[in-house]
Symmetry: C2
Subunit: 349 residues, 2 copies
């Protein structure tokens, strides 16, 4: 049987003083005499006293937890994003003594209803929202309810007074275009997926803006989108794109998993990378370093972003009425082997 941990009452009786004084002494309250404080601290250490969080929460109204709803995933969806994100988030929160609370939605249950439960039951003082969608019902609920939260990603409505940290993937996509343009590429492809997450739009917009900014009429852009994140569907879309008579010489994948499938599609279509085709991704997943010839991509810095999000959330929880916090972080271009000069000959013009 597990022995109960010590309580304030036990300490107080042992020291012959009141519970209140013990509590204040441990809290470092300056009204308690220095000598008393030391006695209490010593006894607490000796007893291995650790305050009961439930009792503390009950009176303070604060749980000391930040909440995170685990995204619902297909049976075989695998990536390192979640692990990196949670590691970083934990690091950012623990600096301020806040712990992380994870809720999972059950099969039939919406993420919103889980979120509602987490908040209403007082399990979390604030939450982190990832995979932000266009009309995100979670965000709508949190705003209405006045719950502190920070998003990883942005809404399309730039003026919404909500706190977020986003990777500036739009600019990154523009940067990718610039680099490829300078290498002589004029015919571009973007392999996307139809999804309600906002980053899809932001990336496509960033790419189009960079193209427009360049002001070269000979630049073409073809966008193909698979109906969902499905290996087969994406491979098909890629195959179709690469076998067109005027196929692109440079293809950007919406994120690395897509770009890796572009590499696969290229091999299947008999195209050599980077000689016949340049490919660029986004995220820098581990596999990008292993897939030949090495995927040129952007490192999103998930872990450090998450760390910063943790800190932002603490700040949002502490000063509710302040202006929202918004941060855009710059992803870093990782040059590997999948980009190169545009091929010469009939393919180009």
């Amino acid at each position: 049987m597990a022995q109960r941990s010590s309580t304030l009452k036990v300490l107080a009786e042992h020291l012959g003083i009141s519970i209140a004084t013990v509590s204040r002494a441990l809290a470092g309250n300056p009204t308690v005499a220095e000598q008393t404080r030391e006695r209490v601290a010593k006894a607490a250490r000796a007893h291995g006293y650790v305050p009961n969080v439930a009792a503390r929460q009950l009176v303070s109204g604060r749980s000391g937890f930040a909440g995170f709803i685990l995204p619902v995933r297909g049976p075989s969806f695998v990536d390192s994003y979640l692990g990196e994100f949670l590691t970083g988030l934990g690091e950012g929160l623990v600096e301020h003594g806040v712990d992380l609370f994870l809720a999972t939605s059950q099969p039939g249950q919406s993420e919103l209803s889980v979120l509602r439960h987490v908040i209403e039951s007082g399990r979390a003082d604030g939450v982190v929202v990832t995979r932000v969608a266009e009309d995100d019902e979670r965000v709508a609920y949190l705003r209405k309810r006045g719950v502190p939260f920070v998003m990883h990603g942005r809404l399309l409505d730039e003026d919404a007074p909500v706190s977020w940290l986003d990777t500036d993937s739009g600019t990154a996509f523009g940067e990718a275009f610039e680099m490829l343009y300078d290498l002589g590429h004029r015919r571009f492809g973007l392999v996307s997926i139809t999804d309600r997450m906002t980053f899809r739009h932001l990336r496509e917009r960033g790419l189009r803006q960079a193209i427009a900014r360049r002001g070269d009429d000979t630049v073409e852009l073809e966008v193909v989108a698979a109906p969902r994140f499905d290996r087969g569907a994406i491979v098909d879309a890629v195959g179709e794109l690469l076998t067109r008579p005027r196929r692109p010489t440079a293809v950007i994948g919406l994120f690395d998993e897509v770009a890796l499938l572009v590499l696969e599609g290229a091999a299947r279509a008999g195209l050599k990378v980077p000689e016949d085709l340049s490919v660029v991704g986004f995220d820098n997943v581990a596999a990008s370093g292993y897939a030949p010839p090495g995927l040129t991509t952007f490192d999103a810095g998930t872990r450090s972003s998450a760390r910063e999000i943790g800190r932002m959330l603490i700040s949002v929880i502490d000063n509710r009425n302040e202006a929202p916090l918004q941060r855009l972080v710059r992803p870093e271009l990782v040059l590997r082997g999948s980009h190169g000069p545009a091929p010469f000959g009939p393919l180009v013009r």
Copy 2:
């Protein structure tokens, strides 16, 4: 300002009955009249009542949370294990209404002290322990303290009355040997790391046992171990192994990341895989499918194991005095391109 969620008191006043009755009605206690129960249920729904977990925990002594201490990681350590594991664990727990609680250790802090805090503060009713080491101080503490816990992995002491689920990687390593032996290989290498985690021993032992069982004196096994999980150190160890005069024709990596570095080392040493060298790993990380020629490995089924661990933990929490639960799951061989017949000629004998 966030509006407070409804409480039992509010419901009771609204219905003109006592708090106790409301509580019992919602708990489905049969002593409350059917009619009353319905009225209460309706009012609770109307008010969006969600019980306060802190209050409930305070009286029940149960937090309703399972704890997990995030492993301390180097700045750039990346894999998908954590994400998969947490996803599965959440799935296993949520079936029983238990939520997951994540604690992070701060830079200078030992994992044990975090664990202690989590337990003593009543944050978690039970915990999951991963990366089991030989003389694991966390396990010692939990046993002594009588805290319910389940390990992912085993202790070397097979008779210890603790609950665990482990992937039978020892048998898998034996299986890998059998397959390679049947392909004609006789000279084997194992690339390991010196680490206090128990799986290292279990895998090596499984391999040695399979070799002994085969009873062929011409089989040789060379084990090299890098001092820690460090890219450079492993690459060096691999390079040394592969340039020996009597180099192995088949190399097994302790886990996929190691095996991937073996592939890299082979390329550097001018060896073709699988013609000159067969390589087998363990884990089936995403990159294994992308690194040419595709790493032959074992799928550890992390997510489903974690799901089962969640269920086991619930069971351990519910019947503390029962015999420990122990499960060995069989990993699945994933055949890709990195294994093949043993090369002929002077290299073989």
